[in-house]
Symmetry: C2
Subunit: 274 residues, 2 copies
């Protein structure tokens, strides 16, 4: 008898993540960019747009974006070997990413532009959504692009950048240390959009009738072996049913349990007969 | 007039994450351990247990766990400065973590032990849950501890380690590259447990009555200025109501819109009068 494992993986990439793109505004860490690539690809997302940091922000070798070939930017803005080392099987996301001179350029043509931020303040949006609510909101989208915009590692999205966004998202986090690593924030956002397309109902949980059947069988077995002498039958039946139903048995597990109980009962009968 | 930002943060750390602990089985990367600390703390989780890698797995300077003071282990198993650099304000999680000689020791006393894995196979659990389903399942727990167990970066949880776990969790991911970085997997797990305690209903979305009021006002305004001459009134009313209701206005946004329309109408009236 082989064990049947029902995997929770969706058969196809969640359609949602084909409609989303990640925009990194002024990221400075090559390892972070690599980690973002891996986070994205693990959730079936491939579209990455990077707005390179200003030269003064970071380093002097960032060439101006306009009039510079993407290949040149790819090899000069970040340490490509560091990106690829952290990207692990996801370096293709970096190899295919686009560079934009401004956030406006990066998100042009989007249906919605979602800025991720924890900081509040004037002009920093009065209505904030969680990644889950956003993912559910956009789950029915069948065309267009949602841009998910993340700011610089240290300073996050500036108020000017956030003003370009049409919506604002805040990842729920702990009050005493709510700061997430850039790639971790991207991972959660992509995960939520991916998850919106996943059927995550518990794996083939059996109907209560099956549980009842097993509970009755177990009850009778316990009665047979004299384990219930002092108990109140209704209470014991209810107890067995409740505990068993809580364990969310799948078909394989229910069948196995039933078989084991049947074997036990037969042993008991044989023993009684001997 | 000040802008009122309704933040989505819970007032207290989600109770769930006080009942959970992260167990790292044989992690080898100091940076990964630091990133795990940050991921945990950002989601209000502080309890970390590490089973150090076997000496042969990794490096020769790992001392035997038993009979070794935690402080010695903390300073010799990983490169502490690398842990702290990546942990960013979360180094206290590492400073307070426990070391265990085996997975059995690490999870002893737990109510449930959840192993995170993508690999399936004989003896690797027949029933798999997503992090979300698990978090919802345990959300009502008011005592006891749920151990969230993550394996080594390269090989994940071994079949023997998974056998110690009472449940199995698989993070939904892309079929072509489903491998998550260790700290990213921990981030998603902690996020789901944290999220289970968060009220993520959209921020103060106004009732449809408010939307109706604004839609009617807008309709009348459009009628006033002669913008509706060729339209079918019912259709236009329905259109305005539908579009406005879809934007999930909060109180501040609804009030602002209403005020602007009122101003526009008054301007129109003045203009007509002049």
């Amino acid at each position: 008898m082989s064990m049947r494992v029902r995997r929770l993986l969706p058969l196809e990439i969640s359609a949602m993540n084909e409609h989303a793109q990640v925009v990194l505004a002024r990221p400075t860490g090559s390892r972070n960019v690599g980690a973002v690539c891996r986070a994205m690809k693990s959730m079936g997302m491939r579209n990455l747009i990077i707005i390179p940091p200003e030269r003064s922000d970071y380093c002097e070798h960032v060439p101006p974006v306009r009039d510079t070939a993407a290949e040149t930017l790819r090899n000069t803005v970040f340490d490509r070997s560091a990106v690829e080392m952290v990207a692990v099987h996801s370096a293709d996301v970096y190899a295919e990413c686009h560079f934009a001179a401004s956030l406006e350029e990066a998100v042009s043509g989007s249906t919605a532009v979602v800025g991720f931020t924890r900081r509040s303040g004037r002009f920093r949006h009065t209505n904030r959504f969680t990644p889950r609510i956003l993912a559910e909101h956009f789950a029915s989208m069948r065309s267009g692009t949602v841009s998910l915009v993340f700011g610089n590692e240290r300073s996050g999205l500036s108020t000017e950048e956030l003003a370009v966004c049409s919506m604002c998202c805040e990842i729920p986090s702990a009050p005493d240390q709510g700061s997430l690593n850039l790639s971790h924030a991207v991972q959660i956002a992509c995960y939520e959009f991916f998850q919106a397309g996943v059927d995550d109902s518990p794996t083939e949980t059996v109907a209560l009738e099956r549980v009842d059947e097993i509970a009755s069988y177990l009850y009778e077995l316990l009665e047979d072996i004299g384990a219930l002498e002092l108990s109140v039958p209704e209470e014991t039946r209810m107890y067995l049913r409740s505990v068993l139903s809580r364990s969310l048995l799948n078909d394989y597990e229910a069948t196995k349990l039933h078989k084991m109980l049947r074997k036990l009962r037969h042993m008991k009968i044989r023993e009684a007969g001997s």
